[in-house]
């Protein structure tokens, strides 16, 4: 009793009916936020429609009004506790309606059947056949997506780590200029950069002609990277395109984690281990691992879902799952199977992210 006395005095003595719920403003804040979000998801996905949908939207409004009312009725303490929920609300509701709700409709779509070949809307009937089709007909595309994305991720580490290292430790006062230079190429459209590679890797392109002229092409052909004298339309070109396009997503997080390392620590390590490589592997590399892990996620995920590189740099035998989703959805008008493939892709990636973040944490993603 004695503990709640001052609490009650602060909330205001005359409005006895509001006292009870105004005493825990954060519960109302969080409750109103979650309730409004779920209601929006329900309306957006069509779980409720007609008059019920209008009722649900009215309830969303009630949630917002309740938040404002509690803030007005309660004292400064209540307002301070409610402020974060008020600030979060617009953005979070946007994400609820346009990120969460679409995932629910996608799931629903993946379990639906198209009534006819040309129908736009599928009817929901627990049709699990779409998943069977996704796994059997499109297994090679799934395998290629994860294989190419994995190779590209390894390559971005091999190319990006030394660059991030040199900028972080040897960049001196030019560090910010150099890291800015890493970003500049990515201010041109992703699509145009990929087309640039298409032109450079074509048979008449500078790179392919140079490789063939030096005779290096024969080596690359023997290793299986080139197809005869051809570089464009090979798996190597697709992996190369993925590597290029997602490289900054690897360099930036590695740079951020390297930059945090105290240079004195490196000197101390050198005193202890005497050789630079040993100091690097024993001290710097372990400390930069959070950056490598964050970069791996930021590279692998978009690479696994990409279809632009395979479309422009590959051939019909190098298509990835993204190509199939895009094709089934927008060209073949087969939304249910496309939805099933998209859902499987996301499920696999989500499981990987969860396992990953369990081990390494997601703090450095931002």
């Amino acid at each position: 009793m004695t503990v709640t006395e001052p609490d009650r005095a602060q909330v205001g003595s005359s409005r006895s009916s509001t006292q009870r719920w105004a005493r825990h403003p954060e519960r109302i804040g969080l409750g109103a936020l979650i309730a409004a979000g779920l209601l929006l998801v329900a309306v957006g996905t069509g779980l409720v429609d007609g008059p019920l949908a209008i009722a649900a939207l009215v309830l969303v409004l009630v949630c917002i009004v309740a938040l404002i009312m509690t803030a007005m009725v309660g004292g400064p303490e209540a307002r301070r506790k409610l402020a974060p929920y008020g600030l979060l609300k617009p953005g979070m509701l946007w994400l609820a309606l346009f990120y969460l709700a679409p995932l629910v409709t996608l799931l629903k779509n993946s379990l639906s059947t198209l009534p006819s070949r040309f129908a736009v809307r599928a009817t929901f009937d627990w049709n699990f056949d779409n998943y069977v089709t996704a796994f059997t007909d499109f297994a090679p595309q799934f395998q290629r997506a994860f294989l190419y994305a994995g190779l590209a991720t390894v390559l971005t580490i091999l190319i990006g780590y030394p660059l991030a290292y040199v900028i972080a430790f040897r960049g001196g006062k030019y560090r910010s200029v150099l890291i800015g230079m890493v970003i500049i190429p990515f201010f041109t459209a992703f699509l145009i950069r990929t087309i640039a590679w298409q032109s450079l890797l074509a048979d008449q392109g500078v790179i392919t002609r140079m490789i063939n002229w030096t005779g290096f092409g024969k080596v690359l052909d023997a290793v299986g990277i080139m197809d005869g004298e051809q570089l464009l339309n090979t798996p190597a070109a697709v992996v190369g395109g993925l590597t290029y396009n997602f490289l900054p997503f690897m360099i930036l997080p590695i740079y951020v984690s390297l930059e945090k390392i105290d240079p004195n620590l490196v000197d101390a390590a050198r005193d202890l281990y005497s050789t630079t490589p040993k100091a690097f592997w024993k001290v710097i590399f372990p400390l930069s691992l959070p950056g490598v892990f964050a970069g791996t996620l930021l590279t692998f995920i978009p690479a696994a879902g990409d279809f632009v590189n395979a479309l422009y740099l590959g051939n019909p035998n190098t298509t990835m799952i993204g190509n199939s989703i895009q094709d089934q959805f927008l060209v073949q008008n087969n939304a249910p199977v496309a939805a099933a493939m998209a859902f499987v892709l996301m499920a696999i990636i989500t499981v990987m992210v969860l396992i990953y973040s369990r081990f390494f944490g997601t703090e450095d993603l931002a």
């Binding site: 994400l95 779509n109 030394p162 190429p185 978009p302 993204g322 998209a342 892709l345 989500t350």
Partner: protein
């Protein structure tokens, strides 16, 4: 770090530097192609093989009307979506950096999700939402989609910048008699502004650049990347290189001006 004293160490050091320089060069290869080929006079419809040098493409950069229109649409979409996303995202960032509250860590995790979902899944899922709700796909749906991924991006970027922010300054202002509103506009907002500006600039670039999500939700609206892709089998005009070079120059200038200002204010803060 002091330089290594042994010969082997010195060679190793140069080798790593050379490797890094090559990696940096690799990043610029397609950029060099884009700029150089804006001065090419292609033989056919595709500006893919070098023929001869010309300044013709630059005499009137906006002569290809359909392409210019598509670029204007892209800029309009980017402007509106960035504006909305910057406001919504910054509010979220302020909420999670300034206050500790119930559900805070859950929200941090929720914000990462849209960025770890493949674009093709986001694009396809939004399309199923719009089809299900009978919403026509046009510029509005593209803006909605762009705001969706920009909000998370802005919130996380501003949060990262605000991590070292000293919130006791607000306390000081209020102790001196400032109202909460005045404290926000005089103390909090100016301190967060560089982070917000950087996030807005980058999410503007993300919007102009976006192809995959836009492809699913644009309907008949043609953005700059969508227009180029639609002509994939028909043509690739040097006018695309010219506009891409202009975009590149404009964003580089913005970046240089922005970081120069940040550098100056940092020096001022350090008392230099």
């Amino acid at each position: 770090m002091s330089a290594p004293t042994t010969t082997g160490g010195r060679i190793g050091r140069y080798a790593v530097n050379l490797y890094a320089a090559l990696a940096m060069f690799y990043l610029f290869i397609p950029i060099i192609w884009i700029v150089v080929f804006s001065f090419n006079k292609p033989a056919g419809k595709f500006n893919f093989v070098w023929q001869e040098f010309t300044l013709d493409n630059w005499s009137d950069p906006f002569r290809d009307e359909a392409l210019t229109d598509a670029l204007v649409v892209s800029l309009q979409i980017a402007l509106v979506s960035t504006l909305i996303a910057t406001v919504l995202g910054s509010l979220i960032a302020i909420a999670i950096t300034r206050y500790s509250f119930r559900g805070g860590s859950g929200i941090g995790f929720f914000l990462i999700l849209p960025l770890t979902t493949p674009e093709v899944v986001i694009g396809a899922s939004l399309l199923t939402l719009f089809i299900g709700a009978d919403v026509d796909r046009n510029m509005r749906t593209v803006i909605i989609a762009h705001v969706m991924f920009q909000v998370s991006f802005v919130a996380l970027t501003v949060r990262a910048r605000a991590r070292g922010f000293d919130f006791t300054l607000e306390q000081a202002a209020q102790d001196l008699g400032a109202t909460p509103m005045r404290t926000f506009w005089k103390i909090t907002f100016p301190l967060l502004l560089p982070g917000i500006a950087a996030a807005a600039l980058l999410s503007f670039a993300l919007s102009i650049d976006d192809f995959i999500i836009t492809l699913f939700n644009a309907g008949s609206t043609s953005t700059f990347p969508l227009y180029i892709n639609a002509l994939r089998k028909v043509s690739f005009s040097p006018q695309i290189n010219v506009l891409a070079t202009i975009i590149l120059l404009a964003s580089t200038i913005l970046l240089v001006v922005g970081s120069a200002r940040a550098f100056r204010s940092e020096r001022r803060a350090a008392g230099g």
